[in-house]
Structures are given as structure tokens and as C-alpha cells.
Symmetry: C2
Subunit: 375 residues, 2 copies
């Protein structure tokens, strides 16, 4: 079926979390077009682990939000590592123009007026709206990028430097930014920084490349040795397998940042990991667990070095633009396997990601051919 | 019995944690006198909650360390908020001289050679020795300041400015420094900082005064309203009782630091407290719980602001000297109730502190009269 744009978009949607692995092609009404909105005709879209949590509805105790959307579809399209072409801009848009190639990550709106928006922390704006599964002030529930088009506030449509292939720059929009922001914020101004990256997967493999590009000495930490060769190719200077007894010996007082990119923290031995930090440094989790999971760590564990633990969410516009520039200057690219978009392709990507069968990131491609767009 | 100094010190000691509330007067051998050691003739000594944990042996799963001391007593004297006069200095001592009034806090030794010692973080030196209950490299287990004398490395004997009464400056040596260091480190360079202090007790009441002196707008957080008037007198600009339903309303994105001075974290609702922090700021615990207690908090809780939680231990020499100068310049003093030292006095102080019957800090005084020193 041809896309009836701009009154309708097409995308791959579910209506029940039980069907998370089999989104179906559907047409749906986009949100109302506002003065700062931009329509992106999607060229490709990365597959992020967030999609699994969202489609399975594991980050919420309530029913899927789309079921109570004030207007638009009662079904849910995900996808928030979008690359595409601007095809329409609202009356007040100044940050991009029709024809630009832009990226869109996991956030599509913030208020632009609160202290957080005004201080480069729009990702923590209380009125922030995620690119999918999130309710706008007008009651519409956002629809993501496994679609012909996606609509977003201009602030979250990022200019992509020439020379970066779309399918490789897609994973930077969410996963890349998610690791770039805490790495930069934690090692900025540190002389000869040392960064440990736990979990060599979709997030971790970008964290290694980014840390190295930012000048850090990088230690990759994995359970076993299966990813050692890859980690070295990504740029890790050291590799540690925590299955090895005594792995922590000699690592006390070493790191300026430990970035946890594993999706769960419960499997981690924080009593061994935290003492590897230098004094007053941070252990930051970006891999998102089930909503009920807890950090299980004793206040006493922190006394060896006065360290802290926490989590970090996405990053700001300036940071994603910096990150893409860094990728050009240091010539690193996410390791991407592409899958042609279709119901079968989306299903394959989600199912294989759920099994961990990806090294290290999927990008869905071929949107123009599938949706008959790109003309 | 007269003190047989310098071959013996006298102090109030226990041999069994069951007797924690009734230390007995005893004579004991001090550690061997090294080139950087200083002997302090004690004038007065604060009572810190650490003493309760140590005497009850609640910070350890092993028997009292003194029972395996390589030499010296098989009994334990506590006390680590000491003020007294230098009566002997080792051959290499340059930081103080006989006759000086000095303070000694919870640490009596560090290696002076490791990266932490060389970067103003000697409190996190892997070879640090606590003022009591801690084993020196030579196997001696340190003995504290409920005593006629105490022996410590010169680096931890701090010059006390004239004009600060000894019984009021004693609580600064451990408790004061413990809150000063994280307050300073977390609000340094922040414009118009806002600090929340949880727990208006021995640590918290000093944290309020110190935060205010450092230029912060201070919010005192307590369970009920019983300490509201006191908190205001200490300098708190705002007061919150968490027994009040909806206490957290309007506090999102407010604080640059939440300092937890309560001795337990399990009673705290971190899901409500952490969102009160500004972006990327810290919740720091200094009140020490039972060794088995855990932080129970979800990674998701941190996503509203990218905050972190952790603990902080003591502070460095420079910080305690700064703190005492600040107390002079801003004319604040800990709120102290004095108790004359004796077996009965020590027992009264420990027992009342255990019940929380103190506003807000005890200092044991009258050491000269009791031990026949000070001549």
C-alpha cells in the first residue's frame, strides 16, 4: 500500500506485548504538526535494546500507553535511531531545512524553557517526550522510526556530517549518545584518563571506540574471552574476563570512570568493581535493566575510595553533534549488520537481538524501496 | 593510679563487645615510638557514634582485633575526637612541637607515599590506620583517645587556632571533617549552591552550620518536627519533615548535594529523595550503618536526573585545617554537652548516645584532673 503522507505514516506496529517479535505493517495518523515540528522521511533505523523492553512492556507496570492515546493509533511503532531526509518543516523551524539529512535519537521533544533545557540537559527535562511510547501534552502517544516517516521537534533533528554512511551513523543517535555523554562528562579535564567499559555489546563496543577517541586508556571488561579479539580491534588497550579468578588483582585505584553497558547490574560484583575506581570517581550504568531490578550494594563498599554509582540518560544536542564530528575525525564507526526492512526483517532483528545474536548493532535499511519513498 | 608515661598510657577499655557500655580503667603499652610519631596528652575527647559500632563490633564479622595484637593490650580503648597538648615528638617530626595544642581525628597513620597520599586523599590510603581498632604494619592494634595519652603520626595532629575552646573543637576532628569534606568537594565552584542535610544529629547539625558557612542555602530534612527550632538556630534556611505526606512536592531539581547524615539508609525513601537533586549531582552518605546494610535503589530511579549515590570517608589534613579556620571566621561551634571523664562518665556518654539522648554531641572533659596530667 502506498504511503498517504502527510496525513498518514506507515510503520511496523504491535497492539499487544505478547506479539513483541512480530510487528505488523500498518498506516497511522501522525501527531498534529506544530510550528517547531519536522517530518523526516526515514532512510534507515537502528535497532536498540530499548525496543525489546518497550515492546515487551517491561519498563512499566501499566498497559501500553498507545491504548490510551488521545488520538492517533492504538498500536505502537518503535525505533529511535533514525536517519532520514527532512521533507517538511513547521513555520518556526530554523535548525534544519527540507532536504537535509538528519538523525533522530530516543528523544523527540522537550519544553525548551526549564532550567534543564536551558543548561544543556534537555534529556532530563520533566516534559521530555521519548521518540516512541511516550505521551505528548496533547495526549498523542509518540510513534517511532520503524516507519516511512517520523515527526519530531527540530531540536532533536541533528545534522549529519557528510562522509558518514547513514546505516553506520544510525546507532550513534541513541546508543552512541547514551555512552558518549557520561564518558565525556566524567573524564573531561582529567589528565590521562582511564575508562573501564563493562559489557562488550551494542553500547559497549561504541563506548570503547568513543573513550579511545576522547584520549582515554580503555579496559574492556567481559564475562569470558569470546570478545577479546573484537575488543582489541575496537581499540581497547586491556581486556579483563571476570570469569577468571582474581581478575581484580592489581586494579585497585585505577579508573576515572567505570561505564556499565551490560543490561543488568545484578550479575555484577560491585564489591570487587567499585574499589577499582580512583577517589571520588563514578560507576555509571547505561545498560537498562528490567524496571524492578535494584542496585544491591553496601554503603561500606564505597569507603575504600569515596566513589559513587548512578545511571545516565541519553545526552544533549551539542553532545550528539560532537560525537558525529568525533567519529569523522577519529574515523571510527559502529560495527553494524544491516537487515532489509519488512515485517520479516523487523522480526528477525528483534528476535536475534533478544538472543544476543548480534555483533554488534543492527540497522534496518531499504526504507525507500519498501515504502516507495526517497523520490 | 598515676600514669606511668611514657612506657604506659591509661585509658578506658573493653575486652568483650558485650561490655560495650562499661569500659574499665586500665594501663596499657603504647605502640613503638617512631620517627614521625607524636604523643598527645589528652585534654578532652568527643564521643562519636563510630565508638558504638566499634565497641559492639558491628562493623566486622571477626573478633575484636586487639585480641590478636602483636604486642600491647588485648583490650580496646576507643575515642577519635581528641584535643590535647603535644608532649613528645619523634626525631623526624616537623609539623608540630612540644607544647602545641593539636587535634587528632579518626585516622592516625597513612603511608605518605602512594598516589592517594600524594594527592590529598590520605584518608583513602590503602595503608591507612584508624585511631583505634586498626592494625599497624608492626601488628600493634591502635588505641584511642578515651585515655591519658594517644600516639599518632604527625600528619594527623592538626594545629588548632587560638580562640576555639577545646571541648567545642573536639567534635570537628572526626564528625566535622567527615561532613566538611564531601560538602566542600561537591559544592566547590557551584554558584548559589543548595544543600540538603538528612538527619539532624551529631553529624547533621555540624553539616548545617558548615554548609551555611560555605555559602549554601541549606535545607534540613528530618522525620518529624521536633528538631525544627534547633535546625533553624543552626542556620538551616528550610526545614522538611518526611512524616508529612507530599513533603517532596516542589523539590524536584533543587539540590546540588544531598548529604545523608542519618546512620541508616534503609529507612530513607531514595525514590523520592534522588529526584530532588539537580542533574548529575550526588547523594552522599556519611552516617555509617551496620556493615551488612545495603543501599536498596533501582537503576531507573537515577534516570530523572543522572544523579549518583555514594559514601564519603573523613577528609584530608588540609580540609580539617580549613574547617577550623572556617569555624573561627564564621563563628560557628558544634552544640556540645560535656561529661566529666571517668568510668561512670564514659558509660553515661555511650549509653545516652546509643539511645539518641544527646543534642547534639558529647565531649568528655576533665582528663587532666582524672589522670593527674596537664602539669
Amino acid at each position: 500500500m502506498p504511503v498517504n503522507y502527510p496525513s498518514e505514516f506507515q510503520g511496523f506496529a504491535i497492539t499487544d506485548p505478547k506479539d513483541w517479535a512480530n510487528p505488523k505493517l500498518t498506516s497511522f495518523q501522525p501527531k498534529n504538526f506544530e510550528a517547531h515540528d519536522v517530518d523526516i522521511e526515514v532512510e534507515c533505523c537502528g535497532i536498540c535494546a530499548s525496543e525489546l523492553f518497550s515492546l515487551k512492556n517491561e519498563w512499566s507496570d501499566a498497559p501500553l500507553k498507545c491504548l490510551s492515546s488521545a488520538y492517533g493509533p492504538k498500536s505502537q511503532v518503535v525505533g529511535h535511531e533514525v536517519v532520514g531526509k527532512v521533507v517538511a518543516v513547521g513555520s518556526d523551524v530554523t535548525l534544519c531545512k527540507v532536504g537535509d539529512r538528519v538523525g533522530l535519537g530516543a528523544q523527540c521533544f522537550s519544553c525548551m524553557e526549564c532550567p534543564r533545557c536551558k543548561s544543556g540537559n534537555e534529556q532530563y527535562c520533566p516534559k521530555a517526550v521519548g521518540t516512541y511510547c511516550a505521551k505528548y501534552a496533547d495526549g498523542y502517544v509518540s510513534q517511532g522510526g520503524y516507519a516511512s516517516h517520523v515527526r519530531a521537534h527540530e531540536h532533536f533533528c541533528f545534522p549529519i556530517p557528510a562522509g558518514l554512511p547513514s546505516e553506520l551513523v544510525a546507532p550513534l543517535q541513541c546508543g552512541g549518545l547514551t555512552v558518549y555523554s557520561p564518558i565525556k562528562r566524567n573524564i573531561q579535564g582529567v589528565k590521562d584518563p582511564k575508562v573501564a567499559v563493562i559489557g562488550i555489546g551494542g553500547l559497549g563496543h561504541m563506548a570503547i571506540m568513543i573513550s579511545k577517541a576522547l584520549g582515554a586508556e580503555v579496559t574492556a571488561i567481559s564475562r569470558g574471552y569470546s570478545k577479546k579479539e573484537d575488543a582489541t580491534k575496537m581499540g581497547a588497550h586491556h581486556f579483563i574476563a571476570t570469569s577468571e579468578e582474581g581478575w581484580e588483582n592489581g586494579l585497585a585505584d585505577t579508573f576515572d570512570l567505570i561505564l556499565n553497558c551490560a543490561s543488568s547490574t545484578t550479575a555484577l560484583d560491585l564489591d570487587k568493581l567499585l574499589p577499582c575506581l580512583k577517589v571520588n570517581k563514578n560507576f555509571v550504568s547505561v545498560g537498562l535493566p528490567h524496571i524492578g531490578e535494584v542496585f544491591n550494594v553496601r554503603p561500606f563498599t564505597f569507603f575504600s575510595n569515596g566513589c559513587c554509582i548512578g545511571s545516565s540518560k541519553l545526552g544533549n544536542r551539542e553532545e550528539i553533534i560532537e560525537l558525529m564530528k568525533l567519529a569523522v575525525e577519529h574515523n571510527f564507526r559502529p560495527w553494524v549488520e544491516t537487515i532489509k526492512v519488512s515485517e520479516a526483517g523487523v522480526s528477525e532483528g528483534l528476535t536475534r537481538l533478544d538472543k544476543g545474536d548480534v555483533r554488534y548493532r543492527f540497522t534496518l535499511t531499504g526504507f525507500h524501496e519498501f515504502f516507495g519513498t526517497g523520490k
